[in-house]
Amino acid sequence: MRLPRPSLRFIPIWRRNLLVWRKLAIPSMLGNLADPMFYMLALGFGLGRLLPEIGGMPYIAFLAAGTMCYATMNTATFESLYSAFSRMQIQRTWDAILNTPLTLDDIIIGEFAWSITKSGLSGLAILCAILILGIAHGPNLLWLIPLSLLIGMCFTGMALIITALAPNYDFFMYYFSLAITPMTLLCGVFFPTNQLPLLLQHISVLLPLTHAIDLARPLVAGHNPHHLIVHVTVLVLYGLTGLCLAINLIERRLQR
């Protein structure tokens, strides 16, 4: 086990992914914007009619904060599972890069940085949706952008571990079924976690999405988040631990 060896050489790899993204930017941004908007509209108005406000927030604003975290998590996860796996295993893009003066650390850090960038774009799209739908306003909303980068970092790191271990695309279903879906349901995207039985609440505290939502919700409501340091630390630790493990695992994988 060794630590990552960061250098600015990751930039050409980040730029490669940016160049690919630019070709598909319109459908990609549309997806980032449309999906959460439909969620917020359908559930926000549908359920929102039945629910009084939650913790002083209208349900649609409560949901917007959850959706922002959930959608950003998904962006990072899909990029670092399916797209990264394609580049590693199917297109052999990483093999080609390893024959140049770049190293595996440069590649993984490049992928890490790119996936975080994409998460930021996803966060930006949702911020636009929140503003367009008039769900919330105020300068605190701007903090959602750095938050989306933080969420991107957390879930990119975790997903890269799964990619490092995956024999094929089907393997990712385990991660969705055992990690992403439970988090979506247990971390307070749709309802406050204090509605859950105590055991599930304890589990929920350990999951990173809970900490992301605990930061996002006050920001949407226009307050400052409590326990800022704790939540940020949890997200950063998940992300960097994931990055570190992924580099070690992928190094071993490519030695074969």
């Binding site: 160049l19 690919v20 297109q91 052999r92 093999d95 003066p101 770049l102």
Partner: protein, 303 residues
Amino acid sequence: MPAVSVHGLTKKYGTSLAVNGLDLSIEKGECFGLLGPNGAGKTTTLRLLLGTITADSGQITINGEPIPARARHSRAQIGVVPQIDNLDPDFTVTENLIVYGRYFGINQETLNHRIPALLEFAELSHKSNSPINTLSGGMKRRLTLARSLINDPSLLILDEPTTGLDPQARHMIWQRLRNLIQQGKTILLTTHFMEEAERLCDRIAILDEGQRIAQGTPVNLIQEHIEPHVIEIINNSESIRPLLADQQYCERVEEAGETQFCYMHSPDTLIQLLAAKPEIRYLHRPANLEDVFIKLTGRELRD
């Protein structure tokens, strides 16, 4: 100082030895061929030279740089054509070269200058803005060769550069490789085509089970290991099979299915004998590198 120097190189995968105490020395400006059946350790050797995998023991230096300690630095001077195509399918021909050039830290101005010349070299100027999936196999291979030259390398490492190509495309690649040799580049290639090795390589090493079992110029290898004449008796050989054991006709016989391969220094007596038997179809030819290869590595399949 040799371009590539390898001493006692060993690499294990699990319990199997992919490379087993290999020694190699490749001079600057030389075209050196690594031949061997599947699983002989050719690709593993190339990956060890590039430092993308690490050896269990042995020393490698490339242009005086120790590998893997200075592999990253050394790769800046190396161009690679991999066995499995790994062009970037999301990009056009030109974008592939730009993006790959950036991995070497080459600035845009230099790339703008180099890329048209490389496309011309690969006869792909007319395809500069085409997506990769519209290229034929031969064009992809030419683009991969052009891509390997983006950093103006002194050493080219080519892993089966013409596998899967039609004869026209293969000849075109050979012509380009000869051109590069004339420019003074050092080339290390692996191949399954003996003709390719014979035409291009100054020297050849034959590998089997991770070890070097022969080395020399193509002509020397043939002279050293094999009789100069080969008569392949293609069918109906039953009637003369007993005669083939007779040294007067043939010094050495190998059987492969229906065909008898007869090796000898003077073919005349056997040709006279065969001339009297019109039902027998045969082929008389000079011995080539393939005969050496088969003699040294055997006829059985290596899967």
